[in-house]
């Protein structure tokens, strides 16, 4: 697991109040209890704060679409951090 995944995993644990979350790239919202629409926004806000980045409205929406997973999220964060 690389440093970015590790950091994002910590954010997941904090937001969803579960220290047992182990992130994998194929993981989706269905695999994490509490990752509903509001949970998704809380996660985005926490990630923005942690990494000093901003997600566009369209990006936030796309991340919840079918076929999107933790891997997509990690990729987007990595791209935004440059």
């Amino acid at each position: 697991m690389n440093a970015l995944t590790n950091e994002v995993q910590q954010v997941f644990c904090d937001v969803f109040g579960d220290d047992g979350i182990i992130l994998t790239e194929g993981m989706t919202a269905d695999d994490v209890p509490g990752w509903d629409s509001l949970g998704h926004l809380n996660l985005i806000i926490a990630l923005e704060k942690r990494f000093g980045i901003k997600f566009a409205t369209a990006e936030i929406s796309r991340l919840k679409e079918d076929g999107q997973n933790v891997g997509t999220l990690l990729e987007l964060i990595a791209r935004k951090r440059g």
Partner: protein, 412 residues
């Protein structure tokens, strides 16, 4: 031109039959552009109407082009304030009539399709500001806004989805069976709108006329009046569903014949288990738009300023978002009640879920959600609540009131 008409279907079938015989993408775009303008022209009453339309479209285009080169927040805020103020005045919202001089409303001209253009326009401008749209040619913008498929009543397509198909305009129906399916969908849409929807609407109108008339209502037994009310209460939501989903079937099926994939707008809405889920199944493109461009920025702003209070203020965000979704549908008091009920229903959903999480934890919530009896009860409550909201989905508040009053006391 009415979508559920012989003229529309004949035009659609004839034009789609020749569309892909046109050789190049630019020529196909020009052909669709002519169709768009001709269709819109059937709904613009006069020169003033064209000027109003041009002004409305112009505001969005100018704002987007300015934001492309200078993405400043204040420009976006000024644009949104001006646009929404203009929209409220042009749509003649009742609360605006209370606050502003009557003379103002006599001089303005509103045109068909404004409500949907508003959503498309805000989406484009916000996405430009946030760097999600990097180029916006006037040609694309105008055809996106005036797109014959979705101009009158949606579905609310996003610019990037439109551009994806518009840039190529190639067939998306890969074989003869797909084409037949598209024809079948148009046919089913026409049946839903014209036949089944028409039957429900006639039943509703007959019962409504009987119950709204105090003299006729007084001659009936109480049970008869209650039954009439129940027919009104349930047939109107069925009619609205058949009419709107049938319209969407005709639009989505028709667009696919021209190489444009429109987003789906319905997914068995009356099987939703709460009002938040309902708005992801009923008029989905509106529900998603409201989520993305009202709820998300509102909640993010609150969470940014008051992180400790964000969780409790989330209910307020749900209320505001779905209240606006309701109010957008019409300019009279009835639609304000419709908005309030939708706002209350979605906030209550989130409050209930939060209560359950506190009481039984996430694993408990999961088994609660998987319980078949709970699911059936939740669907029953939601469908009845949705019918209650749709009871106010008509312009006349007096009629909604008098029908309820006449059940109990028609003489009063």
């Amino acid at each position: 031109m009415n979508v559920c008409s012989i003229e529309w279907v004949v035009c659609l079938l004839l034009l789609s039959a020749v569309f892909f015989l046109i050789p190049g993408v630019r020529e196909r775009q020009a052909f669709l552009c002519v169709c768009n303008v001709a269709f819109v022209a059937t709904m613009i009453p006069n020169f003033a109407g064209w000027c109003a339309l041009a002004g409305f479209l112009g505001i969005g285009f100018i704002a987007a082009r300015v934001l492309l080169s200078r993405p400043r927040k204040w420009i976006l805020v000024v644009y949104l304030v001006v646009l929404l103020a203009a929209f409220i005045i042009f749509k003649r919202y009742v609360f605006a009539k209370v606050l502003l001089p009557a003379a103002l409303f006599r001089t303005i001209v509103a045109t068909v399709g404004w409500s949907y253009m508003l959503f498309r326009q805000i989406q484009v401008v916000v996405d430009v500001y946030q760097g999600q749209i990097e180029r916006l040619p006037l040609w694309n913008y105008l055809n996106f806004q005036l797109n014959i498929f979705g101009f009158v009543a949606g579905p609310i397509q996003r610019y990037e989805e439109f551009r994806e198909h518009w840039k190529d305009l190639k067939p998306i129906l890969s074989d003869a069976e797909s084409v037949l399916r598209a024809y079948l969908r148009i046919f089913i849409g026409a049946i839903k709108m014209g036949l089944l929807g028409g039957f429900c609407f006639n039943s509703f109108t007959t019962c409504k006329n009987l119950l709204a008339d105090p003299d006729r209502a007084a001659q009936m037994t109480h049970l008869h009046r209650v039954l009439l009310f129940l027919v009104i209460f349930y047939t109107y939501p069925i009619y609205i569903y058949l009419n709107f989903s049938g319209y969407c079937d005709m639009i989505i099926g028709g667009a696919s014949l021209f190489g444009i994939r429109m987003p789906e707008n319905f997914d068995r809405p009356y099987l939703s288990r709460n009002m938040i889920e309902y708005w992801t199944r009923w008029h989905r493109t509106l529900g998603f738009w409201i989520r993305d461009y009202v709820f998300t920025p509102l909640y993010k702003a609150i969470a940014g300023h008051w992180p400790q209070k964000a969780a409790s203020l989330a209910f307020l965000c749900y209320f505001v978002a779905f209240f606006l979704a309701g109010v957008w549908h019409g300019s009279t008091w009835n639609f304000i009640i419709f908005g309030v009920l939708n706002g209350l229903g979605s906030s209550a959903t989130k409050l209930w879920e939060t209560f359950l999480v506190r009481k039984v934890g996430r694993p408990g919530l999961r088994s609660y959600l998987q319980n078949a009896s709970v699911r059936a009860a939740a669907i029953f409550i939601t469908v009845n609540y949705a019918c209650l909201t749709i009871y106010f989905f008509r312009p006349e508040l007096g009629l909604s009131y008098s029908m309820v009053k006449n059940i109990f006391a028609p003489h009063l």
